[in-house]
Structures are given as structure tokens and as C-alpha cells.
Amino acid sequence: MIKPLTSIDELSKLRAELAARPRPEVEIRVCSTGCRALGALEVCEALEQEIESRDLDRRVRVVRTGCHGLCAGAVAMVIDPPGIFYQGVTPDDVPEIIQSTVLNGEIINRLCWADGDRVIARQEDIPFYKHQTRLVLRNCGVVDPRSLEDCIAHGAYSALPQVLSAMSPEQVISEVLASGLRGRGGAGFPTGRKWQFARAAAGELKYVICNADEGDPGAFMDRALLEGDPHLMIEGMLIGAYAIGSGQGIIYVRAEYPIAIEHTQIALARARQVGLLGTNILGMGFDFDIEIRQGAGAFVCGEETALIASVEGKRGMPRPRPPFPATSGLYGKPTNINNVETWANVPRVIQQGAVTYSEIGTEGSKGTKIFALAGQVRNTGLVEVPMGTTLREIIFDIGGGIPRGRKFKAAQIGGPSGGCVPPRYLDLPIDYDSVEQIGAIMGSGGLIVMDEATCMVDIAQFFTEFVQKESCGKCVPCRVGTKRMLEMLTRITEGEGELADIDRLERLGQMIKQTSLCGLGQTAPNPVLSTIRYFRDEYEAHILEKRCPACACQALLTYRIRADICTGCTACAKVCSVGAISGEPKQPHTIDISTCIKCGVCYQTCKFQAIVVE
């Protein structure tokens, strides 16, 4: 246990001591957060047993880290040195890994990343990693997030001493302003400006809040940061609190993230125990502490005034702004809210200095952005790239393109508030401003890749259903308007739409954007408006031809068995839960369309591709 640190010197000494500790020969860094879903903990246990049984404790250490980023490869691990990346590891692979790779230095090809015949063993050589700039995620997947020592050894809390000892709050704010850092939560408001407002607001008691209510479907970067490197965000909050003049911080995290909550709680307790939180931090006369609050399952609480209401124990309903939280926020006190990724950028800004930091990115958008890459893309996972990287680089160079040889159709950026970007913008440098120009928003960084089998009307309907369900119900345009939009979209996907509906959707969408009370409502029509803008033909096909070009809208599909291919193996008839398939063994089968519920089980069961969807 570390003794409480009472000065900056003591922290520096500690860091030096930790760095000087004897290191094991090999570290095996296993993602035990995101990969837990596929048995990462079992893999860790197997590794530890194996190491113990071979008496390798002193030479080999298992580090339970956060996310490595390449989630498609779960369970993923890095063996360092020499930095070999293994994926799809199961406990059964463990003895071989220890024997062959750790002890004998041999590569196990089947566990390596591969592109066709090309096998790449070293992490840094894998295209997924090669094209990234891991600034914020630098230690994610490297450190043990539950070990403060490990984090300090890797540089945690190295910006804070500089701030406390050499910078006035105003200087911190100008540094952040100069860095060009913009809020990573969605709208991209300049972080320094926000801090200025909160600092200028009258009042002794001020709050800083970390918004970790990452509710966008398809976004998981905040989760990864909290799980994999919580001290980075805590350090960011400390710096922000110092700059603003706040003594109390709150992390609002959604309850659906149990590991993130656990790791953050551990991190807070450890930081408090060593005196990095609490009173007179590092002997510099600065007092600050952080509490953690759990969300209870309401997407709208990502909106800052709703979040404040929720922290206050109320229904998470937004309220009109002004007054902005900077002047009247939590309990009516000046409050500054940033999201996890924004806070996590702050120590980097200080460490590098605004000038270096602002060299990354585009004119109006500085630094990196983390995207959660998912959908119909080979390398799903977390991707950190400089602002201004093109979609093509992200999806094809890093993401490895679309599987099964299908064609790219659209990328959905920004979650339910965002829009669908068509192929023609693949080479557009992505930053806050460019994305907005094409009808999407950066949002928190969810990036869902869609291929030709994705129906854009269905996607529009999907997002509208989401926001409709998540609408808090307070203001009329969002509560009733999104409901009416959803009803129209549903009619269209069911072949009941009329051409005038497209017009109505556009007009209603514009009105909802203009009149809704909060950001959720103001952006709710974006997916619909952007799909109409770029994929109007698909809407028209549903309406005029009663046809879903992507064969995704169930109501418009029929399943048919091609008699020329069907061998009569009866497999489909056996799996059909409603008995819609009939036929004699060894004779071509048929589907009774009136009974068929279009569940698709037969389609996936048939080994002969005899079942077609039309």
C-alpha cells in the first residue's frame, strides 16, 4: 500500500520507485473487460494456473487490462515482449501459449490476426493498429486499471503536478482553449469556453460532472475508457476542477456498465487513499473529491440538464436553457459537464502542451477521436484516429472492409442523433464541421457500417423507434412528433406507405428539429432526414413497388424454396416452428406463405441455399 502523498515530490519519487521495480520477463496483457463476454476471466485464470504450476511466477505476469480495441478478436491478449497479439483465445489454448510462445518464442499462427493467408503476429504491424493514433487510448489495454501503482508507473497523474504547481486556473483554461479541444460528447462545444463560463459564474460551490451515460446504441468508447484507464479521466476532472474552482465532482455512469462502475469505484477509492482526491491534494491546498452516481436506464439522461435532474434524484427530464448549467446547474450551482473522452483528453493536452496537441487534427477540430466501429465491418472495435481521417481509412484500412465481399452502402455516424453517410462521402475528412454539413453529427463516435443487405428505411425506422422509446415525454414535438414519424415509417416498411408520407416526414422532421426542448428531440429526425436525402429511392421502392430492395423489411419479404435446388433433406421442415414447410423426404419442399412468420430460421438452416428471400 502506498502511503498518502503530501507533496508533488513524493509523487515523483513514487513514480521513480515504481518504474525502478524489477519487471517480469514477460507480461501477458489480457483484455478482461470487453472480452469478458467471451470468457476472458477464464483465460486469465487458466494462464495464472499454468504459470503457477510451471513455477514461472517471477518471470511471467498476467495483467488484466482493459480493452485492446480489436474487439472482433475477443478474447484478445498481448504478449510483451515482443508484442504479439493473439485473438480468439480460449482456456484450452493456454498451455500451448505458455509453452510455445512464452517459453520458446514460437508464434501460434491460428491465434494470430490474419488476412487471407497473410498472418501478422506483432500488434503494431496489424493494419487495425498501424493506422491509428492512440493518444487517449494509449494505456488502455496496457495498464491494469485496478492498480493505481501500475497506472502511475505508466504516467497517470503526471499532468496534475504541473497544473497545481506551475499554472494558475486561468492559465489552465487558456491552455485548454489554445489546444482547440472540443467536447467529445456530441455537439463539439469548445471545452475551454465551457470552463470559462463555469469559472466566471458567481458562487462558492461549483460542481464538475463527468457524463458517462453513454447511451447511444453502438457506442462503447466511454465504457472502454472507464474500464481500461479510469485514472486518466479522474486526472482530467481534477485539472478541470482546479481550473473552474470546483470542490466536488460527480461521475454519472449508466447502470448497464457494471465493470466500468466497479473499476471507477476502485480507482476513486485508491486515489482518495493516496491523497490524490480529498483535501489539500499533494499539499497544494486544493480540495476536490468525486462521487459516482448510477444512471437508471434513460437515454435522455445523456442530455446535460436531464443528467442534472437525474443526479438530483428526479425524473431525468431536460429543462430549458438558458440558464445554462455553467450558471445554474446541479442544485442550482454553477456546473460544468464534460463526457468521459473529453476529460480523458485533458491530461494529454497538459502533458503535450496546447501547441503540440493542436498539431493533430483539422483546422476546426483538434486532437483525436475515438470511434466505436461496428456493424458490417471486419474489425469491429475501438479506433482512435486524428480528426480529419476519412471514412475510407477508418472503415477499410483500419476496419478491414466489409465481410463476405458485400458492398459498402452507408455509415451511420453519431448514433440516434446522427445520420447515414453514403459512399460518395467515403473520402471526406471527418471532423465536427464536415460531418454536420452532410446531415450527420459526430455524436459520441458510434460508427455503424452498413452493407447492401441493410435497408435504409428500416434503419430510419429503427432509430426513430429508439428515440421514440427514449423520449422523456416532456415536450410535444418529441413526444408526439417522433411517434407520428415512427408510425409513418412503420407503415412504409410494411408496404402501407404513401408517397406523401415522405414529404410529411421531412416537414415534421424539420419542425421537430426546430422546436424540441432538448438535444435528443432536436436531433431525433436526423437519421430519417439523412436517409431521405441520400436514399430516397429506397423509400420510393417501399411505397410504390411494395418492395424492400435490401430484403430486410420482413413484412415485404417472402421465403420460397427453389425446387430445382432443394434435395428434400427435411432440415428446414424440422426447424420451422410454425409448420409452414411441407414436403416428402427427398422431394422438393414448399413453404406455405400464409403460415410463414418469416423468422428466417429455414433460410439459415438450409445447407444448399435452396431457400430464397424475395
Binding site: A298, R315, M317, R319, P320, P322, Q468, K469, E470, S471, C472, G473, K474, C475, V476, P477, R479, V480, G481, K483, R484, E487, M488, R504, R507, L508, M511, Q514, T515, S516, L517
Partner: protein
């Protein structure tokens, strides 16, 4: 004063204080921007949920909600462009897509904001159709119907319930399209905190909330509206009577109207149908052969006058007594006391103020020189601390109760509540002093002791404005917190805490009611409170004062107009020769100089045969007075009992002649509320049958006694009052049409007086009275081990004559119950709702037990509204020696199983 800023709205230059919203700025310039969720009258921050009030600010993209967007200097705002209209049209269309289109039959048609805006914006068929929520309307209680299908979720009802009434019965439930408003689901209504105050109905902009009793009875254009004053408690709320074809359909508040700002309580809103009740008296009755039988007015008046004249001739005028009414108008009270003094020739005139605030009048007159609420109701919004003692404000004066709750919750003003029961206000209290019954003097002396001990007194005020401070110092010296704790049972540290909270506030208000006054030490209690206020300089400034809350709608007025045995109108003493000479001159007759009998003294005199005739207007001593068996004995012993009332009350049933009179909705006049505010009462309905105005009846009787007294109308009576009553000197009907006036209002240019004793006390200097603790007259013992305290409940009023003839109130609380602590109930083997027998030395009743920890062990509480279980059969007629008020608050009883 805040800085003012200018902006331009629709080409109009508007100047408003900084901080105003665009909507406020527009409204101030007479530009109406459509809005549904925001109700400026609530005085609450906008919720900004309907989005109808959107406007365009030049040079900024998009639209902003004008209800919440601040007006800033130099901006140019457009409120009515085609784009804005189009947007508003869509908002209305969306609302209509989820709203039944049944305006043809909707109760709210013509008075519905949604309908109005749909019309104004020319919305025809809503463009969007889809799922609509159509559940059946819900009626949880007797009064309020919630039709969710018509609810637009504007939230005004939730706001008024939580932030104006501070009741918090309803809230938004669910989320998104499924959001609705309701009581906590699955909770029985009787466990809900909803008081059915009905203010949610008044603020609802659509037909979603409505009054069950008015269904189908008339819509806005069919109803006549008359603004008048509520006939229940002394708050004096302004109400709007809505009538159709000479029937009262409903009562509502109106935005911002009156001292209540349009808000009412359950009685004010729904307790009115007694006025149309079939049991109303419609013709005079004369007792013939022991039976009350119908008679003509001529017969009845002749009968009454002849018998009165006979008694006067045989036994002298002092053998006749009169009881006036705190329910009648100022004019009627004036006429009644003139009748007794001038036509009969006696000062035997009194009324029920004797039973509620006689000690207030006596105590405050001695200390300050004037016996009324020193400050105004709106002062509760200014107070920095509030000390409520002996007042169950939220039940007895609900609109003031809500103001106190708002102060405690929204302004976080320290609230000290001293009450032997855990009344609702204790939930909001910073400190609850649960004193033993009848120990108020010890408690208050304890508070003063702490204040002096800690040097928290206002030395300057004491020196400049008061006298006899040394006597006070000596009197409170023994009352250390520990000594006070011994007597009162209140922990010493709570006494210290309360003293500091009260004394340190820049302006602290004392609120009290019958918990202070209805004791044999009532006058002492009031004097002690006056001492407390003066010692801290809390008199003569806004937000402070000593504030007795008067129980009846016009008990203040009845006192002001001389329906008291010792004073003429305006508290001019009958034994003051100058005053008497003035009245003799004005009334043209010699007047008696001796002080007359008070209420209880008249009953005693009747029982002893000294009083032979009694003329009672609108009072029901057979339920309201202590020791009912004795009252009945007295009334039966009379040679002549004349009762003038609107129902055949328990008292009227004993009368020799019954004269049918008019209710509050059937007459013009004025009431004076608890804060000395004289307000107009207006006729909305004709009297039923042959019923007549009280003052006309009294004048007719006078004439038959040979004393000519007549007025063309009530305004003429007021003119006479103004001539003879300096504090009412400047009050005329003409002025009252412009707005109410608070007395003293000595001349026609005086604006009225919001708070008394500003630069000097009415009597000159404030006088400290040393008072010492004296125990209550009848304390529990082995035979009668419980302390019984009596009072009111929210849903009923006084003897129930009105409230129990009201459908809603009767359904809410059909029968009475006695509150018993769970420990006592267990010992007695009594379950909640089971009947018990309550016995005192004077009588017994049977009533159901309500087992509750609102009362402390060893005490029971009973409301006196119930004729079938009259609390006053148990109470003691022990009187305060000065004010002659009976000790309703303490007597000893035992409790046994019911037969």
C-alpha cells in the same frame, strides 16, 4: 431596483426589468404569444414543454421558446411570422392527433386553450394520424375527474400541486408517449395526500381535469359568473360562482384573483351545494302546540315582536339577549347590534367570536391597543421565520397553510411549529415543539427567557416602543429551558433552538389560532405571544407580526361591527361616555351603559331564569358551545327563542319562531377577512322560497318594536357604518368595487393598512404583561385519564350545517372519528375504525376510533362538526376570566367500549 432593458417585439419597443422573459415582455406590451404549459399566474419557472410559444429572434438561427428565453437588450423579436404560425400549427396538429375531437360535447368547450389555438391558427384536420391514448376517465375521489385522452401533459396541474399547494399528490408517471399524470398507482385514495383542493382543475387548459359535479350542467357561455367571497374560513378567498338558471353549478378560482391568487381549498371549491339543498328553510315557522308549523312572514314577525315586547315589558331589556353571526355580512351584523342596543335597549349582544378569538381581541388590545392580525397574508412571502403555535393551518386555513409550506420549502424559511399534535405542518417544520396541552405560557416564557439570556432581544425597539419591560424580565426569569421542559415536556434544547431561529430572523411572523385562544388562560397565552414579538422587535414591519387566524369568514367583521357585549362598532367601548353619546345621537335613542352578557353567560343566565328571550342569527350553540347539556337546559328554559337561519339547525329545532334567511350567494354586502380586509360579497342567486335578507328581517322586527330602522340597500348601511366607525371611515361600496381595503381606513383617500403599529402602537407604546403559567382547569386523573382536545378537520366546517350538506365534503368524510394513539388503542383493545364511548363529567358520546400517532399517548382529539357525536357534550364551560372564552382545548375524558 433591477436594471431595465429594451427590446423590440413585433415592431413595438418594449422595456422590461432585466431577467424578464420574452413572453413576459410581450405580455407587458399587450402582445399575446400562444402558450399552453406556462401559466404566469402560478408564479413558477416555465417548464417550456408545449413549444407553442416559439418566436424568432432576428439574426439567430431557429426558434426559441419565449416563455423561458430571457429578453436581452436590443434584440428584435418576431412573434407572428408565417413560419412561426406554421410551426405552431404543427404543434397543435400533433396535440390534436392524440386528442379526441369531441368539442361538441366536451365540458370544456369554449373555455379550452387547445380549442382556442386550433381555431386561431386555423387548424382543420390534423395531418398526422396515429395511435391515440383513449383510456376511460378516472375518478379517484368525489370531485375530480381525469380524462387522460384530453391531457396534453402541460404539467400545470403537477406544478400547482407540488409547488403552489405543496401537496404533491400527483406527478408525471411513465415516460415518453406513455407519460401520464396520476396519483401513485395502486394506492387507495384515502391514503393519498390529495386533498381534492381542485386547483388542478382550475389551471388545466383543456378538459382533462374537470369537476364531476358539474358534468353536463352547463358550459362556459351558459354560465353566469359572480365574483364573491368564500363562506368558510377567515382567509377570505375570492371565488367565482358559476350559475345557470338560478342554480349554482360550480365554484372556481380565477387567475390571480384575490388574496388567494385564484387558489382554493376543497371546501371553497366544492363545499357549496348546501346553497341549493332541499332542506333549506323557505318559509317562516312558528311553534304551535309544540310543533314548528309554517306561517306567513306577517304572522312570524308579529309573533316574535309581540313576545319580545312582552318580555321587555315584564323583565326589562336585559332579559333579552341576541347572538349575531360571524357568517353574516358586516352590514347584517351592524344592523343586528343596533337592533339589540337601540330597539331592545341592551348590550346583551355577542357572537361566536367569543368562542374562538375573544382572548385574542382582549390580549392584543391590552398589549398593542388593537385586537386583530397585525400583518397581511402576503407577508408570509416576506417572513424570514415563521412560528406557528396552536394553529393547524393547513386544515383550518388551507390557503394560508399552503403559503407557509411554500415559505418553508421554496424559500427554506425556518418554520417552528408548536402543537401537541403532529399536524401536517410539522412535516415541514425545522423544529416541532410538542408541548403538553395548556402549557403555552410556560413554553413562550421559556422562549423569551432564552432570548434574553442570549442577548437576542431588540434593545432599541424595547426602549423606543414599549413599556414595562422590567416586569417581563422578572416574570420570565424562572423559565429556564429546563424549567420550561418540566412543564411543557418540550426538550430544553428544542426550546433553545426555536428561540434562536425566531429571534435571529430579520422579520419573524407568529401565527396562531384556537390552540392558543381556547383556554382558561387564553388571554395570557396571547399576551405571552405579544411579549415574544415585542421583545424581538417583530411588530410594525412587513413579514413579522402577531397573526391570529380567524376561524369564520366574517368573524373579524362581526367583531369590528360591534356584535360584542362590551363594544360598539370599531371597538368603541359601551362604557365610554363619549362613544355612547355619539351612537345615541346617530341612532336617536338612549343606550344602556352597562356591558352586556357574553355567549356563555347568556346561556348560564337562561338556565338560571334571568334571561328570558334570545334572538339568534346564524349561530348554532346547540353544537358549537361547550357543555351542550347545559346549553340545551338553558335554551329550553327560555320563554322565547327566535332563530333566523338557512337550515333548521339543532338550535332552530328548539325555537319558538324560525325565520328563513339567505345564504352567502344570495346577498350583497361585505365580509372582513382575517387580515382586516373588507371585501365585497355579491348576490348570484335569488333566495329560495320566501327566505329574506337578514338585515331586512331585523329591521322589520325593530319597526314592530317601535324603533324605526330602515335602509334602501346595503351600501347605505355601509355609509352609516363609515360615519360611526373610524377604522371603516373611508370604506365605501364605490371604492370596494375597485378593490378590497384593509382597515384602519379612516378616510376616503386612505389606501388601507397592510400592517399595523408601524411607527407606534395603536395604544401608543406596546405594553409588556408579565404572565405566569397556570394549569388547565380540568386535568386528567384516575377516573378520566385522557386529555381531550377539540378542533376542526379540513373537510368540514364548524357545526357542519353547511359542509355536511355538501356532496363532495360529505363523501370525503361522512362520519367523525376520535384520534387515539396506537399505544392507548392497544391498551384499550380498540382497533382503527371501531366505535368507542367517550365520557366526560358532563356527558358522553359514541364515535369511531382513528388510531394514529398524530396524537401523543394519553391524549385524544375530536372535531366538533358532528351532530351525531357532538364533541361539546364533553367539553367544559370553564372560562377565561378576562375574555370569557371557554376552554375547548383541554378537558378530561375516559374512553370505554361502545354499547
Amino acid at each position: 431596483m433591477a436594471d431595465r432593458i429594451s427590446l423590440k417585439i413585433d415592431a413595438v419597443e418594449v422595456t422590461v426589468p432585466e431577467g424578464a422573459t420574452i413572453l413576459e415582455a410581450a405580455l407587458s406590451a399587450g402582445i399575446d404569444i400562444p402558450h399552453l404549459c406556462y401559466d404566469p399566474q402560478l408564479g413558477l419557472p416555465p417548464t417550456s414543454s408545449c413549444r407553442l410559444c416559439v418566436v424568432q429572434i432576428e439574426g439567430t438561427p431557429g426558434l426559441v421558446a419565449s416563455c423561458s428565453h430571457p429578453a436581452t437588450s436590443g434584440i428584435v423579436v418576431h412573434t407572428d411570422t408565417e413560419e412561426i404560425r406554421q410551426t405552431r400549427r404543427m404543434v397543435i396538429e400533433l396535440l390534436l392527433s392524440d386528442h379526441p375531437h369531441d368539442c361538441l360535447t366536451c365540458e370544456k368547450s369554449g373555455d379550452c386553450d387547445l380549442q382556442k389555438y386550433a381555431y386561431e391558427l386555423a387548424v382543420k384536420e390534423p395531418e398526422h394520424v396515429g395511435e391515440a391514448v383513449r383510456p376511460e376517465p378516472i375518478q379517484d375521489g368525489p370531485a375530480i375527474i381525469y380524462d387522460r385522452s384530453k391531457c396534453i401533459l402541460c404539467g400545470r396541474c403537477v406544478e400547482v400541486c407540488h409547488n403552489v399547494e405543496v401537496t404533491g399528490a400527483i406527478d408525471f408517471l411513465g415516460r415518453g408517449f406513455d407519460t401520464h399524470i396520476g396519483l401513485p398507482p395502486g394506492l387507495p385514495r384515502d391514503q393519498s395526500v390529495c386533498t381534492e383542493c381542485g386547483n388542478c382543475i382550475d389551471v388545466c387548459p383543456t378538459g382533462a381535469l374537470s369537476f364531476a359535479g358539474a358534468e353536463g350542467a352547463g358550459r362556459v357561455w351558459e354560465l353566469e359568473r359572480t365574483v364573491t367571497i368564500c363562506p368558510y374560513c377567515g382567509v377570505g378567498c375570492q371565488i367565482v360562482l358559476q350559475t345557470r338558471n338560478n342554480r349554482l353549478v360550480k365554484i372556481t378560482g380565477a387567475p390571480g384573483l384575490g388574496v388567494n391568487h385564484g387558489r382554493l381549498c376543497v371546501k371553497g371549491h366544492f363545499g357549496f351545494d348546501f346553497i341549493n339543498h332541499p332542506e333549506r328553510l323557505t318559509q317562516p315557522l312558528i311553534r304551535r302546540n309544540g310543533e314548528l308549523t309554517p306561517a306567513t312572514w306577517e304572522e312570524a314577525l308579529d309573533f316574535a315582536a309581540e313576545r319580545l315586547a312582552q318580555v321587555k315589558a315584564d323583565f326589562g331589556p336585559d332579559a333579552i339577549g341576541g347572538l349575531s353571526s360571524a357568517k353574516c355580512t358586516n352590514e347584517e351584523n351592524y344592523v343586528m347590534q343596533r337592533f339589540m342596543r337601540a330597539a331592545v335597549g341592551t348590550n346583551n349582544i355577542d357572537h361566536c367570536a367569543r368562542l374562538c378569538h375573544a382572548s385574542t381581541v382582549a390580549g392584543l388590545a391590552r398589549a398593542f391597543g388593537s385586537g386583530a392580525m397585525t400583518n397581511s397574508i402576503e407577508d408570509f412571502e416576506k417572513a424570514d421565520a415563521i412560528f406557528v403555535i396552536g394553529s393547524n393551518t393547513t386544515e383550518c386555513h388551507p390557503v394560508i397553510g399552503a403559503a407557509i409550506k411554500r415559505a418553508a420549502v421554496q424559500r427554506e424559511v425556518p418554520l417552528i411549529v408548536a402543537d401537541p399534535r403532529a399536524i401536517e405542518l410539522t412535516e415541514f417544520a425545522t423544529v416541532h415543539l410538542c408541548q403538553k396541552h395548556g402549557t403555552d405560557v410556560a413554553l413562550i416564557n421559556g422562549l423569551i427567557h432564552v432570548i434574553l439570556q442570549e442577548g437576542l432581544e431588540d434593545k432599541e425597539f424595547i426602549a423606543a416602543r414599549t413599556e414595562d419591560f422590567e416586569q417581563l424580565q422578572a416574570a420570565v426569569a424562572p423559565y429556564t429551558p429546563e424549567f420550561a421542559e418540566k412543564i411543557t415536556g418540550v426538550p430544553a434544547e428544542d426550546i433553545i433552538r426555536a428561540a434562536r431561529l425566531y429571534a435571529k430572523a430579520p422579520a419573524a411572523s407568529i401565527v396562531f389560532a384556537m390552540g392558543i385562544t381556547q383556554h382558561t388562560t387564553g388571554t395570557d397565552n396571547v399576551l405571552a405571544l405579544a411579549n415574544l414579538a415585542m421583545v424581538t422587535g417583530n411588530v410594525g414591519k412587513p413579514g413579522a407580526g402577531v397573526n391570529p387566524l380567524r376561524g369564520q369568514n366574517n368573524v373579524q367583521g362581526a367583531c369590528d361591527l360591534g356584535a360584542l357585549s362590551n363594544v360598539y362598532p370599531g371597538y368603541q367601548k359601551v362604557d365610554d361616555e363619549q362613544a355612547r353619546a355619539n351612537f345615541e345621537a346617530a341612532w336617536g335613542v338612549l343606550l344602556p351603559a352597562n356591558v352586556g352578557l357574553t355567549v356563555v353567560e347568556m346561556i348560564n343566565a337562561a338556565a338560571e331564569g334571568d334571561l328570558k328571550a334570545l334572538y339568534i342569527i346564524g349561530e348554532n350553540p346547540m353544537l358549537s358551545d361547550p357543555d351542550l347539556s347545559h346549553v340545551e337546559e338553558g335554551l329550553r328554559n327560555l320563554e322565547l327563542l327566535i332563530v333566523q337561519d338557512i337550515f333548521l339547525t339543532e338550535t332552530a329545532q328548539l325555537a319558538d319562531v324560525v325565520l328563513p334567511a339567505t345564504g352567502f350567494a344570495e346577498k350583497d354586502g361585505t365580509f372582513t377577512n382575517t387580515e382586516r380586509r373588507v371585501q365585497r360579497v355579491r348576490q348570484a342567486l335569488p333566495p329560495p322560497g320566501e327566505a329574506r335578507l337578514d338585515w331586512e328581517i331585523t329591521c322589520d322586527l325593530a319597526r314592530r318594536l317601535g324603533y324605526e330602522m330602515s335602509y334602501p340597500d346595503v351600501a347605505a348601511i355601509q355609509d352609516e357604518i363609515a360615519q360611526l366607525t373610524p377604522i371603516y371611515g373611508g370604506i365605501t361600496y364605490e371604492r370596494l368595487e375597485q378593490g378590497s381595503l384593509q382597515w384602519p381606513c379612516p378616510d376616503s383617500t386612505h389606501p388601507g393598512t397592510p400592517f399595523l403599529h408601524k411607527d407606534q402602537f395603536t395604544r401608543g407604546r406596546g405594553k409588556f404583561h408579565p404572565v405566569q403559567f397556570i394549569p388547565a382547569q380540568e386535568l386528567p386523573d384516575d377516573d378520566y385519564p385522557f386529555v381531550l382536545s377539540t378542533g376542526r378537520i379540513l373537510q368540514h366546517f364548524h357545526t357542519g350545517t353547511m359542509s355536511r350538506r355538501t356532496k363532495v365534503l360529505d363523501e370525503l368524510v361522512p362520519v367523525g372519528a376520535i384520534e387515539i394513539h396506537p399505544d392507548d388503542a392497544q391498551e384499550l383493545g380498540v382497533g382503527d375504525g371501531q366505535p368507542v364511548k367517550v365520557i366526560s363529567r358532563r356527558g358522553e358520546i359514541e364515535i369511531a376510533a382513528r388510531v394514529t400517532d398524530r396524537v401523543v399517548p394519553g391524549t385524544v382529539f375530536l372535531a366538533f362538526h358532528y351532530r351525531e357525536a357532538p364533541a361539546n357534550r364533553l367539553t367544559i364551560a370553564a372560562l377565561d376570566p378576562v375574555a370569557k372564552i371557554p376552554e375547548f382545548k383541554v378537558c378530561a375524558v375516559k374512553i370505554g367500549p361502545a354499547d
